[in-house]
Symmetry: C2
Subunit: 375 residues, 2 copies
């Protein structure tokens, strides 16, 4: 953590973790919480108390001295700062099969809803969930509210392409979007890119099926005009509009931010993960046939390095942008390592700054657009 006002030994507050979210919960979530607590991050485990206590017990039975002792207490062992682990009881769980919207409405005390509530109230600096994306989005929107001027919060994912990482927004929150939603995504994606990668005026592209402005469906043609106008007018300092980008442009660092609906974005994101995995596996097989000895080990090592660098899971989680607090959505198949990365990101000053810069910028933009509408 690169702290200015805040550092690992003195975090601003705990991160709320939906301890029941994800394919490997609660094992992976509890293990991740224990791991990051050791590096000084406070974590609130949210879920059914009995299940979580049992899981903590099991973890401590693995030979560590953690477990129940670690709950709701803060240890300092030697010079190593250690964060606290606490539990907030949430008896219900939203499963992958549930309809997200109605499940979050119906199960008011679900782990994901309570985690979002803790972040919304300020008791936590943010929330992390590896559960149903739809449920995490719905819970965040309900509990945290939306930022000024934002109709549709969107998920920003960083895809670690070899040349340069790309911010893809929306990668799954909204299956259908109109042009004004795509403008929201452009603005938030650019602010995110500025805050996380330090870019001054990120280049934003509209994902489409051709470079010409008349390509795509009616929504893309409208969005092209709306984005082009916004980049010349009210958002001139926020982003530069590159125009349309196509599928093959995404890995080429043509733009810093690619804007699309959540359906296309989700397909793109998962295809990148799957194709990188498939190609690297194929290349390992092929290299093994063509080389031997020391050089083979070199080649395989090169591939393993690449695999870990292109593993989209490496970022630990995507951010739901446009809601009132920090919401980090980890991969449903996240194991402890990935959940730990998401927790570290959520606890970082960079994340807090990103969230506050987006909130401030949107507030200002909203105010000035209301002023200009009145004049």
């Amino acid at each position: 953590m690169e702290g200015r006002e805040r550092n690992a030994a003195d975090p601003a507050g705990p991160v709320a973790l939906d301890a029941m979210g994800g394919d490997y919960a609660p094992q992976a979530t509890v293990a991740a919480a224990i791991e990051v607590a050791e590096s000084g991050i406070d974590v609130i485990l949210v879920g059914p108390e009995e299940i979580l206590l049992e899981e903590l017990d099991r973890s401590s039975a693995d030979g560590s001295r953690r477990g129940r002792d670690g709950v709701a207490s803060r240890h300092v062992r030697g010079n190593k700062p250690q964060g606290s682990l606490s539990i907030v009881h949430a008896p219900e769980v939203v499963s992958m099969g549930d309809d997200p919207l109605s499940a979050v409405r119906r199960k008011r005390r679900s782990s994901v809803a309570v985690a979002a509530e803790l972040a919304a109230s300020g008791e936590a600096v943010g929330m992390v969930s590896a559960g149903s994306t739809g449920a995490a989005v719905a819970a965040s929107v309900f509990k945290m509210g939306r930022l000024a001027g934002i109709q549709r919060p969107g998920i920003a994912t960083v895809i670690p392409f070899p040349k340069r990482p790309l911010v893809l927004i929306d990668s799954g929150a909204n299956v259908e979007c109109d042009a004004s939603h795509l403008l929201d995504f452009a603005v938030m994606g650019a602010l995110y890119s500025s805050a996380v990668f330090g870019l001054e005026k990120p280049r934003v592209g509209l994902l489409n099926i051709g470079s010409e402005d008349a390509k795509g469906a009616a929504v893309h043609r409208r969005a092209y005009r709306v984005l082009a106008e916004a980049a010349k007018g009210p958002f001139a300092d926020t982003f530069e509009f590159f125009g349309n980008v196509e599928g093959h442009d995404l890995p080429e660092a043509t733009v810093d931010v690619a804007v699309t609906d959540g359906f296309t974005g989700n397909v793109v994101l998962k295809l990148c993960e799957g194709l990188a995995r498939a190609l690297i596996a194929e290349i390992v097989t092929s290299i093994t046939r063509h080389t031997e000895g020391e050089s083979q080990r070199g080649a395989i090592q090169a591939l393993l390095d690449l695999r870990s660098s292109v593993n989209a899971d490496g970022a630990g989680g995507a951010c739901l942008l446009g809601v009132g607090s920090l919401a980090v959505i980890a991969h449903g198949s996240a194991k402890a390592e990935s959940v730990a990365k998401a927790l570290r990101f959520a606890a970082s000053e960079r994340a807090a700054e990103m969230q506050s810069r987006i909130a401030t910028a949107l507030e200002e933009l909203h105010r000035s657009s209301r002023r200009s509408a009145k004049s």
Copy 2:
């Protein structure tokens, strides 16, 4: 060409080539036509006569004995069968910037429209275009008509994933689709897969953002039901419905055919091309750093082999399915080699069989569905 009734020395007829279509036309198209004619395939070059004659002259000035002599004549040199090259004059050209639909309507004597007409009338066995996809689709639909029961012809592309090639349909003809169009694609994609890959009952998946049947937008939920019912009822012998597939499933040989709208399909196709290129380039760099000498050469060779196997252009072209004749759409950036592949495919017995099997099957299905609707 694997001929049963037909073979290279005795083709059923010429292929009509939109000689002005594509980024590298007419150089690449004329060069491709000359190349395949040498292996016994008859080609009709369609475009402005003067331009094409000039290009043929230029090609013959390159030291070959082709050129004007080759036009509208058939040579047999020794035992090597040689096809004929002829020109059909089409004075107009549809460019990438034109609105496809109105351009095809307005420019009645454009190269793409005349090429489609030749295939429709039977003067050619099929047409090949590397020009604007929208124009090739519009010209094919106008000139060739649609097959029985098909509302929306769709483009079937074979993506050469390392594990197994995948048929993706629609990869760009229709930016917006409803559930019944997606059913058309499923049926045609399965028939294509059967004809080209010899699969008895291909597995068809619906591209979506989750595996559960309630995932996606309303159109995907409807399509899920329509496809599931069709695979149990009238199309029980044609395909098996696997259910939803996600982006990461595509390279994993989970299904033989993936069905989606032309917007998502086009993004998927281009992303696969771009990502494979980017990853392989990155790995070459990385391998060069980690290895040396003989083994480095081995590793690089392995990568080059893989690159040519995953180059989507390798197939030479995609087929527009659901129109009355064979329409092969090559990549806009196709060079002579790719156009030649598309011409060879269009002239092959496999392509003719595929087209006729789809036409026959749709005719039968349409007839039996009308019968069952009456009873």
